[in-house]
Symmetry: C2
Amino acid sequence: MKQAIPHETIKRLALYLRSLRQLSRKRVEIISSEKLTEHIHASPAQVRKDLACFGEFGTPGVGYSVKKLIAEIESILGLKEKQEVALVGIGKLGSALLAYLGFEKFGFRISALFDNNPEKIGKKISELKIEDVARIKEVLRRRKIKIAIITVPAANAQEVADRLVAAGIKVILNFAPHYLNIPKGVIINTIDMAIELQSLAYYLTHKEQSRASSTTTNLT
Amino acid sequence: MKQAIPHETIKRLALYLRSLRQLSRKRVEIISSEKLTEHIHASPAQVRKDLACFGEFGTPGVGYSVKKLIAEIESILGLKEKQEVALVGIGKLGSALLAYLGFEKFGFRISALFDNNPEKIGKKISELKIEDVARIKEVLRRRKIKIAIITVPAANAQEVADRLVAAGIKVILNFAPHYLNIPKGVIINTIDMAIELQSLAYYLTHKEQSRASSTTTNLT
């Protein structure tokens, strides 16, 4: 019987992976859980607990093989092969994400771009043509893309989400500051930057809370 | 004795506030907790529990006064007056956030911009001059700004964070994909978009987890 793994555990795996890749570039071969948490907000016990959800990876008293652990986490996260991603909304935020993130570096390839602005449709960004949002279903079904990022204004976000779901998208990272109604079986994570900022402002006047341990975003 | 309020509660308050403001614009005067959760991933019981952390706001069997609840939540979050914010890193992401978020609309005013690029320093974005990062301490101390957003590359993020802390910044929203070492008493929330995407990819191959309830970002 499989136990549901907390999403926080999954996110920490991605953080461990980043640290491990940095260590690998520095030719470190074996790493202890203590060392692995040096640049992550987690305790060594947390690392061991997180990894134990997925199997036995380390050698007690010795540590983890950096190379093996990278391979294991890549396999758990489904990052062995590049994941194709659709980006909907090629405005300022969408373009900034394209430029800023360096998707290839961390296991993704942006392989479809969509916008509803006739002045943008048909133009190219680094070899990739911007398609009409009306063609989302057609393009994504043909290309078998399962992951999408929404960077459209709040007012258009639900319509875009509906199109993505109809196109077979299974995972959505949403930056539109809006609640999105999504059927069961599709995962959506909303990064709502306005809400993040507002909730942080709270701590300016409420010092008792100054070591809160975590903050949560919507995931359905 | 004050109990620490979970950060998730604070974030939901910000979500309730957004819904309440929308309701207020539609001239709704009284709202039930059921109605309030219609566009939020939370149950009516959760709303009542969240608000109960801060006092008695509603009338049982009747509901909440929209106007009063807006005022109460604005007061709790410290949004009665515009909060001034410094933005460090006027690259693609920083500029996109400036344009995309509409800070004024949700209680903030960007009142200082910094970059380390000599070609950008001295230029203006909507009346605001981009200052040299070397002047962070001088400018922010004089202006008494307590909130900062970091949108610089990972390699520069720690240096910028150190400057912000030295300048008296108390709350940081960090978009650099990097662990930042921050002294106690300063709150940092890292929105790591690469990690968000990687952790979502997990759900493409692990269906048992398809209704995870929340995702967590670092907050120290």
